[in-house]
């Protein structure tokens, strides 16, 4: 099979590395929508998770939002969003933060919120009550406990949630091409319409996989930088497991 020969020839063609339809621009589109969605999802999910955890309220919702999120196919959210909002130009307030497509943005944010929310909640609510009492005993008020005790101690959980979401967002952003969006999925969708052995299919899949692994590694690096050493231990064991909560 001369399949890999074709792929190699495609990669060596300089035309495939410039312009709107070149690899760099598709990669940029993919990264841009992923980062914007992830940031917005974090801005929504993190405060809610922290507050619910701090007041130990809404455990049922905070934990089950992830289970429901896992069961609803990401593809279906995207398809529904397109049928509702169309694929037209986004309103200006969304365009200024880098959103190119409203349904894509909605689907990716909806996908990214549950893991961050659940992990943050579990991280905060699972903190040893003795630690909180000690903090209160030292004269910290509720807000200070949240900021200086609960937030850092739940850091590994929050990062695990972020990593889960990041990988899911990068993966799902590939599907945007199916509804007329850009990103690396373009190569897979366009290629497979010609032939399943079209070199673009392999190229697209390869770059998406590399991007996904890179996102995971990059967040792992961020985690090492921002978390104090004692909090770093084996956080990856947390991300997708059934959350344990002090009932």
């Amino acid at each position: 099979m001369n399949y890999f020969g074709d792929v190699w020839d495609w990669l060596r063609d300089g035309q495939h590395w410039t312009g709107d339809e070149g690899v760099p621009n598709r990669l940029l589109e993919h990264v841009q929508i992923s980062i914007v969605s992830l940031v917005v999802a974090t801005l929504v999910a993190l405060p809610i998770g922290l507050l619910l955890g701090h007041f130990r309220r809404g455990a049922f919702v905070a934990i089950n939002v992830s289970n429901i999120g896992r069961a609803i196919p990401a593809l279906s959210i995207l398809l529904m969003a397109v049928l509702v909002w169309g694929i037209g130009d986004p309103p200006s307030y969304l365009a200024t933060i880098g959103v190119v497509s409203v349904p894509a943005f909605v689907a990716l944010v909806a996908l990214a919120i549950p893991p961050i929310l659940t992990n943050t909640y579990v991280g905060v609510a699972g903190i040893d009550p003795n630690v909180r009492e000690a903090a209160t005993g030292m004269g910290l008020n509720g807000r200070e406990v949240l900021r200086t005790v609960e937030l850092p101690l739940s850091g590994p959980f929050i990062m695990a949630g972020l990593r889960t979401s990041a990988v899911a967002v990068v993966a799902t952003a590939t599907l945007l091409a199916y509804v007329g969006g850009g990103g690396l999925g373009r190569f897979i969708i366009d290629g497979s319409r010609i032939s399943y052995s079209d070199p673009r299919v392999f190229v697209g899949a390869l770059f998406v996989a590399l991007l996904s692994v890179t996102a995971e590694l990059a967040l792992g690096f961020v985690e090492r930088v921002i978390l104090p050493r004692p909090l770093r231990a084996s956080s990856s064991a947390v991300s997708d497991d059934a959350p344990r909560v002090a009932a």
Binding site: R70, L75, L83, T174, Y196, A205, L206
Partner: protein, 224 residues
């Protein structure tokens, strides 16, 4: 077909379409269930021995978790696409990547389950004269089963939710309904596909939970 004109394309559910297409819906639902069973079956076949090995050998554990972690990171559409030139339109295109996603989930839970067995319990078993093989079979594994079942449930729901993506490469069970509805701008099949996918996930999840309750009475959580 002109018959389409008889249905309402602007509502989320047109029951007359559902009534007329019962057979088609059942066929897709069955395909979804079959793909799920194949993927989970293949996943268990690989993950259970590997997970047990990883639980007792730290070196195997590191390599296994890292390798399955990389597999887990590969986006599903990319994985399906990478297999297309070799497996084409066969079910293997969907089943191989889906099974590979279950590995990390199942293995991590097996390891967590085995490591969660209290040390005193192991020592007590050894003190009672169990050989290490007998202890693993009669003490460690039974006590780790609830954690393993938790992993199985996550794997099941994950696979059921990912199968629709395979509709973009000619597989996909209920995903075919979603794609069909979307491509024609006709909402009802999309709604039916989503609702049945979620329903299938919930039913499978509850079935495993029930099986666990029946088979393993000791796994019921005791309230302190």
């Amino acid at each position: 077909m002109s018959i389409l004109a008889a249905y309402d394309g602007d509502v989320w559910i047109d029951w007359s379409w559902v009534g007329d297409h019962g057979d088609e819906i059942v066929t897709h639902l069955r395909e979804h269930a079959e793909l799920t069973a194949l993927s989970i079956g293949l996943g268990l076949l690989i993950a259970v021995p590997l997970g047990l090995l990883a639980a007792f050998h730290p070196r195997v554990r590191g390599v296994t978790i890292a390798a399955t972690g990389v597999l887990y990171t590969i986006p599903s559409l990319a994985a399906f696409a990478l297999l297309l030139p070799w497996t084409g339109l066969s079910r293997a295109t969907a089943v191989i990547p889906l099974a590979s996603y279950t590995l990390l989930i199942i293995i991590r839970n097996i390891v967590a389950g085995i490591h969660g067995v209290p040390r005193e319990v192991r020592e007590a078993a050894t003190g009672m004269g169990y050989t290490s093989a007998a202890r693993i079979g009669w003490v460690d594994i039974p006590l780790a089963l609830p954690a393993m079942f938790a992993g199985l449930r996550i794997a099941l729901v994950t696979v059921i939710g990912l199968i629709p993506v395979a509709a973009l490469v000619g597989q996909g069970g209920l995903g075919r309904l979603m794609r069909d509805g979307f491509d024609r701008g006709f909402r009802t099949p999309l709604t039916v596909g989503i609702v049945l996918t979620v329903a299938l996930a919930v039913v499978c999840d509850l079935a495993v939970l029930l099986a666990q309750r029946v088979l393993m009475p000791w796994s019921r959580r005791r309230r302190a």
